[in-house]
């Protein structure tokens, strides 16, 4: 670790700090209400991807198969890459610094869905949670693919091409675990039981989402996306011979962390530890 001053003197003549990945865009056409609602949506999505990626990274080095060690590390890298773009876009709309947003908020200030609060637990649990989340994410991204806010539609087009591999991988694991009676299937069913009440928190209605639909930023309201998800997941569970689950409806507090879960507090401690160790320093 070096201070910023030392770094400037000794670094090789390459990049000093990472430039933003996101091209400059013009958001002046958005009215204030739409801009605020869009910022809220972007923060929710960025936090989802970020937290999901950090849970994935908890398997690095200890996944049950070497192949999965590689796969989950790649998944983590993808998701944190997506989060970075979304935090940058959020920053352009609100003036917030993307690094500070990602690493220097209090646990209470994160906006990820409660589905992503659950700890890594066992392999079946991680597969199940990721599959529930990836299906929700795919539906949410589809609803943004033709967004009237073009910078978002462009980024989403890119992200969707990567997310397809995630869904393919998780589908394969769900089928594999569901097809093996005994421990794999029992653990998968137990995971579904634990996760079902929180699954729809990904579609928690946001304050301005009705306005986003009117403005053509988001194709359908969260409640409609939640219904589509329930049909999709219900159909897949039936196909895999897994029990029918009661997912309920998205609740208003699905992204509320005013009392952070212990598991999230722990993960937060891990992923912010470097940033908090010496604020503002260049690594």
């Amino acid at each position: 670790m070096t201070t910023a001053k030392e770094t400037a003197e000794h670094r090789l003549p390459t990049r000093q700090t990472l430039l933003p990945d996101l091209p400059v865009f013009d958001a002046t056409a958005l009215d204030h209400g739409t801009r605020d609602a869009l910022a809220e949506l972007l923060l929710a999505m960025a936090d989802d991807e970020f937290i999901c990626g950090f849970w994935d990274s908890e398997w690095t080095g200890i996944a049950p198969l070497l192949e999965e060690d590689v796969a989950f590390s790649s998944l983590a890298q993808d998701e944190i890459g997506h989060a970075r773009l979304l935090y940058e876009m959020y920053g352009r709309l609100t003036g917030a610094d993307p690094d500070r947003t990602a690493f220097l908020r209090a646990p209470e200030e994160y906006r990820h869905a409660r589905l992503l609060d659950h700890p890594r637990t066992d392999w079946a649990f991680s597969i199940c949670r990721r599959w529930l989340y990836d299906t929700a994410d795919a539906i949410r991204l589809a609803a943004l693919a033709s967004s009237s806010f073009k910078p978002l539609a462009e980024v989403v087009a890119k992200i969707r091409r990567e997310e397809r591999y995630h869904l393919m991988h998780l589908d394969a694991w769900m089928r594999r675990l569901a097809a093996h009676d005994g421990e794999p299937r029992a653990k998968l069913v137990a995971a579904l039981d634990t996760l079902a009440p929180d699954a729809l928190t990904v579609f928690t209605p946001l304050a301005g989402s009705a306005g986003l639909v009117l403005a053509g930023v988001l194709a359908q309201p969260m409640t409609v996306l939640a219904e589509r998800w329930s049909l999709e997941v219900g159909g897949m569970l039936a196909q895999m011979g897994l029990p029918k689950m009661a997912f309920g409806r998205p609740s208003a507090d699905g992204r509320d962390h005013s009392q952070p879960a212990d598991s999230f507090r722990w993960l937060w401690g891990e992923f912010t530890s470097v940033a908090r160790s010496e604020e503002g320093v260049e690594w």
Binding site: D21, L22, A71, S74, G81, A157, R161, E162, Y165
Partner: protein, 171 residues
């Protein structure tokens, strides 16, 4: 309409030619031009602007490529700007024929032909299960892992020559 100056056209060609010297740090046999990540080159009065398309959003080589492109073009202008663009998604179809040959020579299967894209079905993947073995040309191959040593690479196995190999992932 103002016709482009005579000098402008050869300069841009020279820039494109120079960009063939910049290679992907993760797959050094292929240049950024053959990889198809250069979206545009615009040369103005003493300035050059290049747009790059990221292969994968989380690709750690992107910043390196921006720097390497800027460095290579400094002989043409003092003011070189290398921007990232998402105006169109980079797809594996942008890899040139030369690029595909370079991948094959390095033991990578080029990406398989593209599935008709943008299906409404969430679970239709643009991934064809067939990758051609870069060692023996067999199509009797299986996907071992969609995730490989870098974000853009998948791992296959050839049932004929029993050689594991990597494929540049179709996106």
């Amino acid at each position: 309409m103002v016709a482009p100056t005579l000098a402008a056209i050869p300069l841009e060609s020279a820039i494109w030619a120079a960009l063939h010297d910049v290679h992907d740090p993760e797959i050094p046999t292929i240049s950024v031009v053959d990889l198809g990540v250069v979206r545009s080159v615009t040369a103005g009065e003493g300035s050059i602007r290049v747009e790059l398309l990221p292969t994968f959003v989380g690709c750690p080589a992107l910043a390196f490529l921006q720097d390497a492109v800027a460095e290579r073009l400094r002989e043409f202008a003092d003011d070189v700007r290398v921007d990232i663009s998402f105006a169109e998604p980079w797809t594996t179809e942008r890899i040139s024929e030369d690029g595909r040959a370079a991948l094959r020579a390095a033991g990578f299967a080029p990406p398989a032909a593209r599935h008709p894209d943008e299906s409404r079905d969430l679970r239709v993947l643009p991934v064809l299960p067939v990758a051609e073995c870069p060692y023996c040309g067999s199509r009797n191959t299986t996907l071992e892992n969609a995730f490989g040593p870098t974000l853009c690479r998948a791992i296959y196995h050839c049932a004929d020559c029993h050689q594991p190999f990597e494929q540049f992932k179709e996106v």
